[in-house]
């Protein structure tokens, strides 16, 4: 299935784009998304940490992603 992934802050600099499409197997977990992204963009591993959001909610590693879900890579936030 094709999944849209959004990149913010420094992760957007790493990906070179705000939004990219990726192909993932059915029943992909957030854990697999993280490892795939880290393989494609190794600089992610140098961050203090980063979060993954699924449909505008912070998502743990076990969350399973479905086609059409909105995924986002969120480096440490620094608003305020």
């Amino acid at each position: 299935m094709t999944i849209d992934i959004l990149f913010f802050g420094i992760a957007r600099d790493y990906a070179g784009s705000r939004s990219l499409k990726f192909d993932f197997p059915q029943d992909t977990s957030v854990k697999l998304i993280r490892s795939t992204m880290e393989q494609k963009y190794p600089a992610l591993k140098g961050l203090k940490r980063y979060a993954v959001a699924v449909n505008n909610e912070y998502a743990g590693d076990d969350v399973v992603v479905n086609a059409g879900d909105e995924i986002a890579i969120l480096p440490p936030v620094s608003g305020g």
């Binding site: 959004l6 600099d13 505008n56 909610e57 480096p75 620094s78 608003g79 305020g80």
Partner: protein, 149 residues
């Protein structure tokens, strides 16, 4: 999504992300009420230095939809936890020069203790959970704040 993002608000709270200069008096106007005796307002401004380095400007970006949802949770939690009357949260996006206003949080309450406590809770939590990022622009480079260990 287009700016500004407006929170589809309960009438007691106003939440807004905007690339226009934040209207401080709009926040104050929102929270003033005849039932409130105390208003606490926090204003975050752009400081001219960071860890000894001279800052020229900041650039803010947000994951707009999610930022509003997270702010809504924070404000909802504050309203459920302390006896506050009204809350306004405004956050700037885009480029801000030194001295510019990045965030305005206003909380009114019958008594000041709730206003202070809720206002402090909102800014502290905003900084931890709301998907907004700032990049510091120095004379000789730039850096995403808090990204690296």
């Amino acid at each position: 999504m287009r700016l500004p993002f407006y929170h589809p608000s309960a009438e007691d709270s106003m939440i807004e992300l905007s690339d226009k200069p934040l209207s401080f008096s709009k926040a104050l106007k929102h929270v003033r009420s005849h039932g409130s005796g105390g208003i606490d307002i926090f204003i975050g401004t752009v400081r001219d230095n960071a860890a000894g380095r001279k800052v020229v400007a900041l650039e803010f970006e947000a994951y707009g939809k999610m930022a509003l949802l997270e702010l809504e949770k924070i404000v909802g939690h504050a309203q459920a936890t302390w006896p506050v009357e009204k809350v306004a949260v405004l956050h700037a996006l885009g480029r801000l020069e030194v001295g510019g206003v990045a965030v305005v949080i206003a909380v009114s309450a019958a008594h000041r203790d709730a206003a202070f406590t809720a206002c402090r809770y909102i800014i502290d939590t905003l900084k931890q959970t709301v998907p907004i990022w700032k990049k510091e622009l120095f004379e000789d480079g730039e850096e995403w704040v808090s990204a690296h260990p």
